[in-house]
Structures are given as C-alpha cells and as structure tokens.
Symmetry: C2
DNA sequence: ATTCATCATGAACCATGATTCATGTTAATG
DNA sequence: CATTAACATGAATCATGGTTCATGATGAAT
C-alpha cells in the first residue's frame, strides 16, 4: 500500500504563516493584495505559496473557511450557555456583537472571495451556525423578548450587510438599531449582562 | 476672450450613450466590466470613450453622480410633500424604499467606484439629501412616529449597508426590519398611503 | 462650398499581477 | 549517514485590461 509519508514540519509551519499573512494583507491592503505581497509578508517565496494554494481563489477560500468556523463555534457556544440558565436574548446580543466585529475584520477577505468567485462558504459550518441560531431565537421568542416573526434568515439578511468600513462606534450603533428592530423592548448593544 | 465653441451634437449624443452603457455594463458584469466592453455596448470606439472620460475612475464617478443626484431629488420631493399635509413617517418610508431599490441597482457601480478610489460622492447632492432627510426626521419625531434618538447619520449607517445582491422580497423584508428599529410602532415597507 | 477645430477610430502599447518551472534545499526514513 | 521524496526559491512567462496616439471623419461657422 502506498504509505503517505508524514508532512514535513516546515511545510506545516509555512502553511500557517501563509494563511495568517494572507488574512492580514488582505485586511490591510484590500482584496487586491498581491500574491507577492502575501508571500513576502509570510516570509516565503511565491512558489511556496503556490505549492500550498494552487490559486489565489484557493487561498482566499481557506481564509474564509477559518472565519466561518469561528462564527459557527461562537453560535454553538452561545446555545450551550442556555443550558446553564443564560437568557437567550442576552446570548443573541453578545453573539451578534461578535459576528459584527468578525465581519468588520474579515470584510476585505470576503470581498476578495466574492470577486474571485470562491464557492460561497463552508456549508457544514454554516449549517451548524444556523441550527444554533435557530435554537437561540426560539428560546428568545419563548421568553417574549424577540418578535414572533423573526427568523434565522432575517439575521442572515441583516448581517450579510453589516457595516464594514465604519469605525467601532458606528458598528455598535448599527447593532443597537438592528436589535431595536428584532426585540420587543429597547436594548443597547454591549449591555447584555447576567442579571 | 477665448470663445468656447458650442460642443458638437454627436459628442453630446455619444456622451449620453457612454454613460448609459457604463451603468448597464457595470450593473451587469460587475465592477470589472472592461472599458472595451463598455465602449462596444455604447456603439463607440474606446478612443471616444477616453475623450469623454480620461480615466475609468472618471467614468464611474460620473455614473455615481447621476445616482446621487437622483436620490437627492427624491429626498427633496418628499420634504416638499410635507407642506401639502403628507405625514412625515409615510414619506420617509417611501423615500427609503426608493433608496433601497436605487442602491440595489447601483450596487456594482458603487463597488467599482470604491475599488477605483473615486472621491466619495457629489458633496452638493449629498448635502441637499441630508438637509431634506433631517427635516423629514424632525417632522416624524414631532408626530411621535420616529424614535427621538434617531439621526440622519443613523439612516446613512443603515443604508450604507443595504442589501444589494438580494432578491426584491428580501430587500423589502430588510426595510421592514430596519423601519421597526426606527419607528415607534410597527410598520411594513411599501404600505405607506395617504389616509 | 470651404475651412478647421472638434471629435471618432482602433491597433499598439504598457503596467500589473497571477502563475509556472528549472534548479537548489531540507526534513524524514532506513 | 545516505538517500530521496517533499519542499522552497524567484526569475521568467503570460494574460488581462487600462491607456495612448497617429490617422481619418464630421459638424459648425464663414
């Protein structure tokens, strides 16, 4: 049988350096950060970069995947906290604040992905996030804190367009306005606290 | 004094054809619609295009300017209707619906403008729109229909991120959610009517 | 009808940035 | 250690698309 030799240590190291550099450079210099720039930032030659990611599209897709996974895990963590007696609307508020920040940071990356036509996202991670979010919304509605007609798609819709280039203060205000539309009573972003 | 000769008739005609083609092609093929494509769609040679707009940035900026003017006029028309007894919150609702659609149509154009670093917008038109909108908001707040803390900047913030790639139904739902956050009583987009 | 400034044409040019590949290194295996 | 498959290097290649410019056409004024 063809025994696949263990991957070389430096290769593993480089892969990580490249992913980090890619996220950083794209975030910094926009979607048109060059492969050369990224390679340089990673302290690696272009050829190495291409060994790990045959195409710029592949590279960007990999960066997006990290982000998607991160969001999915945040959603699941929030749902699990419900079991410990946390209030759903508080968890949703915090989770959405996390997502807002994540979106702001990864804005350029997602723009790059779109421009390159990288397939949407990690379907699995998206599904996990959706399931967790649905549970949170239902719990919030049961508490009477979330409007009855709000759905997961509503959240997707609002956050598919979250502010990106705006400063932090504006992002917080945006979240407050959005929450006002979703909840039955006025809430302010960043105020969720265990009573 | 240097008498500037009147511009030639065909030049005027071509300029318009080019602007229309540019908006159309960019809307259709995204921000990377080529100058060649645009020229072809306008039924004109590239050189002609460059005579009218020395740079792609200039061309895109011109298209954006048309859009900005359109929005400004809509805002002013809405304010003027207040004098005829129209209810402010209705006018705001209708105006925001108009803007949402305009944004959806011009999404790619604005993306192109951003990518090319075209200076923000037509400052004058923006100022006019802002003034009209401020008046509308104040009137709505005086009626008790709009939350007291809502500002013109809030509207800008929300609409700087309006849904773009989404189908019409999603855009309507988005507007409804946003309006729920802005107004004191639940409203549905597209329902504003003279009583 | 004649003249000329303005305008139109489109092939060629050039900068940018993604991608390749021949050559030199290095970590894993025995 | 040898040996070798993996891996790294970076100058060269190639495609794309914005921009230029020498040449020809045309609308306006006399």
């Amino acid at each position: 049988m063809a025994q696949t030799r263990a991957p070389r240590a430096d290769a593993v190291r480089n892969r990580k350096k490249i992913l980090d550099a890619a996220r950083e450079q794209i975030t910094l210099h926009g979607p048109d950060a060059g492969m050369d720039e990224i390679a340089a930032a990673a302290g690696v030659a272009v050829g190495t970069l291409y060994r790990h990611f045959p195409t710029k599209t592949d590279l960007v897709a990999a960066v997006v995947a990290e982000y998607t996974t991160y969001v999915a895990e945040a959603a699941e963590a929030a749902r699990e906290r419900l079991a410990t007696g946390a209030r759903a609307v508080d968890e949703i508020t915090d989770f959405l604040a996390v997502v807002t920040e994540a979106i702001a940071v990864n804005h350029a990356v997602k723009a790059a992905a779109r421009a390159l036509g990288a397939d949407p996202v990690d379907r699995d991670a998206e599904a996990r996030a959706g399931a967790a979010l649905a549970a949170l919304i239902q719990a919030g509605q049961a508490d009477g804190d979330i409007h009855q007609d709000v759905t997961v798609d509503d959240i997707y819709l609002l956050f598919s367009t979250a502010p990106t280039d705006q400063p932090a203060a504006a992002r917080t205000r945006w979240l407050t306005l959005v929450l006002t539309g979703l909840t039955t009573h006025t809430r302010t972003a960043g105020t969720a606290t265990a009573s």
